[in-house]
């Protein structure tokens, strides 16, 4: 090791993955250690120490974390209080008048802030920003004291129309900060100055809910790194796929809600792009779910918001990930009408598939793979057994599927995979077709432990030409941490028709976003290859509620934003609207709802060729043979040590390529080639993809 090293750390539910990149030599290494609970910092440091003794040699540590996601899903955030406009105490509890499921009318909802910790104060701003009732600061102080005395660790100020005029919120926050015992005081106009009170209040309250937990966790990590001599930048991956400094993460923890999965998609986009596939659909198969994401022209899609759970809406730009309940642990069952179903119930990783021998007796997708010989029973990846219990998996498939459908064990296992594959293919079709993309144009990239078992099926079901299996599919998220650019997103509601648009005021907002974003970039010690600023307006015709994202071609020269003209805004809208709907509305009035800005610092990328295998032969990589079932017959199938295969090696199916945490299946009729970066490109034998 000669140069400084950059480290990416992804903490997952079971394993903590660490990706080490030597910036001098461009070489990389990976480490996988068990995740520690409840404090994940143990595994985090242990993973780093596998390769590095002296933390002062590190140039950066970038972290993809599930601390925020878990705190939200398990409802383990802080006790927080809310101070809100008189008459609006229940917005968080009333949501947008939705319900958990369309059919059945069952289920209730507990907001993260109980009603007795939501206090009203006299104040009111109107939609045009006019202050109708100035905030009553005595009432704010009294409410704050009551919340503090009730044991709240954080307080969020949520006032009506604060996006249009933040003055009342700002004065309330100032009064609170004067006596609040910690830094956890936030206002909705600071977190999300955007119209729509439930979404803004929810995002702000969830941010406050996470603040004590996540900032505590990150502070502990930061301190431990510094104690070990670390003196460089510690950064966190955001849900938008960009990274932010640890200080920003402590202030805006809600932006980490999809940190880990986002990092995975970033790495997938980079690996696929470098391999010559700028259009790729990723599929991350875990124990309970299959997560699909689409990358077109090298860019991943961003969704404006997501619901972490029913009623828990986070509105910040996030990499769009579509999840269906078809993972390795999803349970196969036959309903009373005789139809085979997969999921939504899952055995997860505990108790896990039947073959894991942990007291589950209902068959899962993984059990079908085991019974058909596709997973090596002698080297289990999860579970606690030395050898998977194949007989138990067979019995479960017989009892719950085979006997009910009149199928043999093997036919029942094939049926389970066919239905599961069909559902996964449906998710791929949906994410592509819904956005007007033809999936056949895309490559499919499986990652996570189980995805590569199903790659061939996706080619057959969706008609995709090729799959690309990255060299280290199990550590994709950790690698993504090292690759991701630095990115800050901003939003400001404008709410004006184009004819009445105050372009100077718009330019002032844009300038403020650029200035703030640039300050945040410069506060880090990271080197950027380039900088980029993106502006977008959410626009619609007056009367429409769905807006169209309108890219605004505005140049930033020496940090100064040039004000766009009304004509330019109108033209940009027409172009975007026509592209989305194929027609314009000549008599319609165009309205600008929100300004969205992104300030991006491009970080240097490393050469994936450094991960490629050096030397080796196909013969030396051959580990033996196993009987594997495909279609309607058993095939004697060659087994290879995947990492030992040389560049340009071509393996015709049926074959299985094995590595520590992944099984790559090459079905009969398919062929796998090792590309110059060590990825495996799977295509049909007859075609070239």
């Amino acid at each position: 090791m000669t140069g400084k090293r950059m480290i990416g750390v992804d903490v997952g539910g079971t394993f903590t993955d660490v990706f080490f990149l030597d910036e001098g030599t461009g070489t990389a290494r990976v480490a996988k250690v068990p995740t520690t609970r409840p404090d994940q910092s143990g595994g985090f440091l242990e993973g780093i120490r596998r390769e590095v003794d002296d933390l002062s040699t590190l140039s950066a540590v970038i972290h993809g974390t599930t601390a925020g996601t878990n705190a939200l899903l398990e409802r383990k955030g802080a006790r927080i209080g809310v101070i809100t406009t008189e008459g609006l105490r229940d917005v968080l509890e009333m949501r947008r008048r939705d319900r958990p499921r369309t059919w059945g009318l069952r289920g209730d909802f507990e907001p993260i802030v109980p009603r007795d910790l939501r206090r009203e104060v006299p104040e009111r701003t109107l939609a045009d920003g006019t202050i109708r009732v100035p905030v009553d600061l005595d009432a704010v102080r009294a409410a704050g004291e009551a919340l503090r005395d009730a044991g709240c660790d954080a307080v969020a100020v949520l006032f009506a129309h604060a996006y249009a005029n933040p003055e009342n919120e700002a004065r309330a926050v100032e009064a609170l900060r004067a006596f609040w015992p910690n830094a956890h005081v936030s206002a909705s106009s600071e977190i999300l100055p955007e119209i729509r009170e439930f979404e803004r209040f929810s995002t702000t309250a969830l941010n406050a809910y996470l603040q004590p937990e996540v900032s505590g966790y990150l502070d502990r990590l930061d301190a431990a790194l510094r104690d070990g001599g670390f003196g460089a930048e510690f950064m966190i991956v955001q849900s938008n796929g960009g990274v932010m400094g640890v200080d920003t993460a402590c202030r805006l923890p809600v932006r980490t809600a999809l940190s880990g999965p986002a990092a995975g998609v970033i790495a997938a986009a980079y690996i696929a792009g470098e391999a010559g596939f700028p259009d790729v659909i990723t599929g991350d198969m875990g124990g309970t779910s299959f997560d699909v994401s689409l990358i077109a022209g090298g860019r991943s899609m961003l969704a404006p918001q997501t619901a972490i759970d029913f009623g828990m809406v986070v509105r910040t730009p996030m990499i769009e990930i579509t999840t269906i309940g078809a993972g390795g642990g999803s349970i196969a069952w036959v309903d009373k009408g005789g139809l085979l179903n997969i999921g939504p119930e899952s055995a997860g990783s505990t108790p896990g598939p039947v073959a894991y021998g942990q007291c589950n007796d209902r068959p899962t997708v993984t059990d079908a793979n085991v019974v058909l010989g596709r997973i090596d029973p002698d080297n289990p990846i999860g579970g606690k057994l030395d050898r998977l219990d194949v007989a138990a998996a067979e019995r479960a498939i017989d009892t719950h599927v085979g006997e009910k459908l009149g199928l043999s064990t093997v036919a029942a296992a094939e049926a389970i995979l066919r239905v599961a594959n069909s559902r996964m293919a449906g998710a791929i079709r949906l994410v592509s077709i819904e956005r007007g993309f033809d999936p056949k144009r895309f490559a499919f990239m499986p990652f996570g432990g189980g995805g590569a078992l199903h790659a061939g099926a996706m080619l057959a079901e969706v008609g995709i030409g090729r799959a690309i299996v990255p060299r280290y599919p199990g550590v994709t998220s950790a690698m993504g941490c090292v690759i991701a650019d630095m990115r800050q997103d901003f939003v400001q509601t404008v709410n004006a028709t184009v004819d009445a648009l105050d372009t100077d005021a718009l330019a002032a907002f844009m300038q403020d976003h650029v200035d703030t974003g640039t300050r945040m970039l410069e506060a880090t010690e990271t080197r950027f290859e380039a900088r980029e600023t993106l502006f977008e307006l959410d626009m619609a015709y007056v009367g429409q509620t769905h807006t169209v994202a309108v890219p605004l071609p505005v140049t930033v020269t020496d940090g100064r934003v040039a004000a766009p003209s009304r004509a330019a805004v109108a033209e940009a809208f027409d172009t975007a609207y026509h592209a989305a709907y194929g027609r314009l509305l000549p008599s319609g009035t165009r309205r600008v709802m929100n300004l969205r800005s992104a300030v991006i610092g491009k970080r240097p990328k490393f050469d994936l060729a450094t991960l490629a295998p050096a030397g080796g032969t196909v013969e030396a990589a051959l580990r033996g043979h196993r009987r594997v079932h495909f279609g309607d017959a058993w095939h004697d199938t060659a087994l290879y040590d995947r990492l030992a295969l040389p560049v340009d090696a071509v393996i015709d199916g049926p074959a299985i390529l094995e590595q520590a945490d992944t099984t790559v299946l090459i079905e009969p009729g398919l062929s796998g080639r090792v590309d110059p970066h060590g990825n495996t490109i799977i295509t049909r034998k007859d075609g070239h993809g």
Partner: protein
């Protein structure tokens, strides 16, 4: 699917795969319309639906998951209306033909719902029908948006279009389009919605073509038959698991908006082995005002109620085969043209309530208590100082019923809908109003071991100096949502408005028409909660204490309803 003899048995795996593929086609049609629609009732509230229907009978084969629940049962009537029309005129459908109509007496629901029906051909033979329905913003009539609480016939509600051919072999008939766009206050919105529906049908045809290319018409037809048979089997299995017997329930509509007289809705639910009968004998006769419904609506509503009780059942016609729905002739549940039906939502919500109340006697754990039971369609309209007119129209929520598992949901959407409410800030930004309250309504849920969810309080002040006029179409002003299994009733709907002499309440209790507000005056909706589940005496004392601490129940109410005296002298 009439000519191709299906294979005797389709393999179960192909069946499972095809089930998913066809559901996806319907879902994609939904998504296409939601994205491209111009009016928020479709775009935001998803008041639309799409599906595949049987070539000869019009029975539902497959329906999208994201459309409005009430349409799941009602759309096959729209297809049947077109099939009947063809039989009557002796026409045969051609590829690329599209029929359009809004006649609620033929197609169910109300006149705002514009239905498009298009044949899907394979090898020159009719394979199935595709249909699209969407709630258009305005179709003329006596009140903007067509919720006219005093309409005495269909003509006062909206322009009525019977099934006519909008497109012949792919060619749109410009004359039909002109008639449509001349009969709405919002032609731009109507044209946008129509284009969205046409786009959804185009997409459905393309997807069906690809599916039929891939699997062959015989296999797909066999799968559709098998799915319908399977749904029937599932329903019969569910019914067998319930006890045999006969249970009755009755409830009331406040009035028809014209005469303040209660209108009974009655049902007798009978289970015998694997069959169920729902007999609505004893229900009020056809009334003068717009709370009548057409027969298709009544049958479809039975389906909605059944699917809420058995949520895992698929959305196809097989489910209803073991169920006999008896709607008495001459009742307000089978009103003939031109009886007004604009307020159909209120009547079908009450039908669902009585079906739940009857089913709860048979199997209390399978049912939830009554939800708030009214759509609360509120329209505030006026002119700005510069003369431009404005209309703020939306539906307002209430509580869901308690169940064996939990308290009811606070502030949910109506059982016939999944529509979300627009944000208060969006409403205030678009219209000259200010919400003084947008809050839960304490004490409005029915008492019970699991109490009902809470309704809401919305108090809306007019900021416009020209004032405004208020229309409000609701129900449950006199007869509260009921509890089940010993649970208590919820609070009733309560409307009031400010006058120069203080607060007043409307003469029709739950309906308002032409109420004038000045600048600075407000209208106030206090919506019902849901009914309670199980006896109040069985409620966990900690849950009572929690409700009191949170201000959802006063200590006095806690003592009166639950005998709770903790911390009191």
């Amino acid at each position: 699917m009439n000519d191709t003899p299906p294979p005797a048995e389709i393999d179960p795996i192909t069946l499972a795969v095809l089930a998913g593929r066809m559901e996806q086609i319907a879902d994609e049609m939904d998504a296409t319309l939601f994205r491209s629609a111009f009016n928020p009732i479709i775009a935001e509230a998803h008041d639309a639906s799409h599906g595949l229907y049987h070539a000869e009978t019009g029975d539902t084969l497959v329906q999208g998951k994201s459309g409005l629940p009430i349409f799941v049962g009602v759309m096959s009537f729209a297809v049947r209306a077109v099939i009947d029309k063809l039989a009557e005129t002796g026409e045969t459908p051609q590829d690329g033909d599209i029929w359009i109509f809004n006649d609620a007496h033929l197609g169910g629901t109300h006149l705002n719902d514009m239905r498009l029906v298009r044949p899907c051909f394979r090898d020159g033979e009719l394979f199935c029908w595709l249909a699209s329905v969407g709630h258009w913003h305005d179709l003329g009539g006596g009140a903007p948006g067509n919720y006219n609480p005093a309409a005495k016939d269909a003509f006062q509600e909206a322009f009525v279009l019977p099934p006519v051919k909008l497109a012949r072999a792919g060619e749109i008939d410009r004359g039909i389009l002109d008639i449509l766009l001349r009969n709405t206050r919002l032609p731009q919105s109507a044209e946008g919605d129509l284009n969205g529906q046409l786009g959804a049908l185009d997409l459905g045809i393309r997807r069906m073509d690809a599916l039929l290319d891939e699997y062959g018409a015989g296999t797909v037809a066999a799968a559709l038959d098998a799915l319908s048979a399977r749904a029937e089997t599932l329903m019969r299995e569910e019914l067998k698991a319930l006890p045999d017997g006969r249970w009755e329930a009755e409830d009331f509509l406040d009035n028809d908006g014209i005469t303040d007289e209660a209108l009974p809705i009655r049902v007798a639910l009978e289970i015998a082995g694997d069959r169920m009968t729902l007999d609505f004998a004893g229900t009020a006769p056809r009334c003068q005002g717009p709370v009548n419904i057409a027969l298709p609506t009544a049958v479809a509503t039975a389906y909605v109620a059944i699917k809420h009780v058995f949520p895992m059942l698929p959305a196809n016609a097989g489910v209803m085969r073991p169920i006999d729905v008896k709607i008495p002739e001459g009742s307000l549940l089978s009103a003939e043209f031109p009886a007004p039906v604009g307020g159909y939502t209120e009547t079908i919500l009450r039908m669902i309530d009585v079906i739940f109340a009857a089913a709860a006697q048979a199997a209390p754990d399978r049912v939830v208590a009554n939800a708030y039971g009214t759509i609360n369609a509120l329209s505030i309209a006026g002119r700005r100082r510069d003369g431009t007119p404005w209309v703020m129209f939306s539906f307002y929520g209430g509580g869901h019923g308690g169940s064996a598992e939990s308290d009811g949901l606070n502030h949910g959407s109506a059982p016939i809908s999944t529509a979300t409410i627009p944000p208060m800030e969006i409403l205030e930004a678009a219209y000259p109003v200010m919400f003084r309250h947008w809050a839960l309504r304490p004490g409005s849920g029915g008492a019970g071991a699991h109490r009902g969810g809470l309704g809401a309080i919305y108090e809306i002040e007019v900021l416009e100096e020209m004032g405004a006029e208020v229309f409000l179409f609701g129900e449950r002003g006199k007869h509260p949502p009921k509890g089940i299994a010993g649970g208590g009733d919820a609070a009733t709907n309560r409307f009031s408005f400010e006058t120069d002499d203080g607060w007043a309440r409307p003469p029709m209790v739950s309906k308002m028409r032409g109420i004038q507000l000045r600048q600075g005056q407000a209208v106030r909706l206090e919506t019902p909660g849901g009914g309670g589940y199980g006896p109040a005496a069985d409620r966990d004392p900690a849950a009572i204490a929690r409700d009191v601490a949170r201000g959802l129940l006063t200590a006095d109410e806690a003592e009166r309803l639950y005998g709770w005296t903790e911390g009191r002298a």
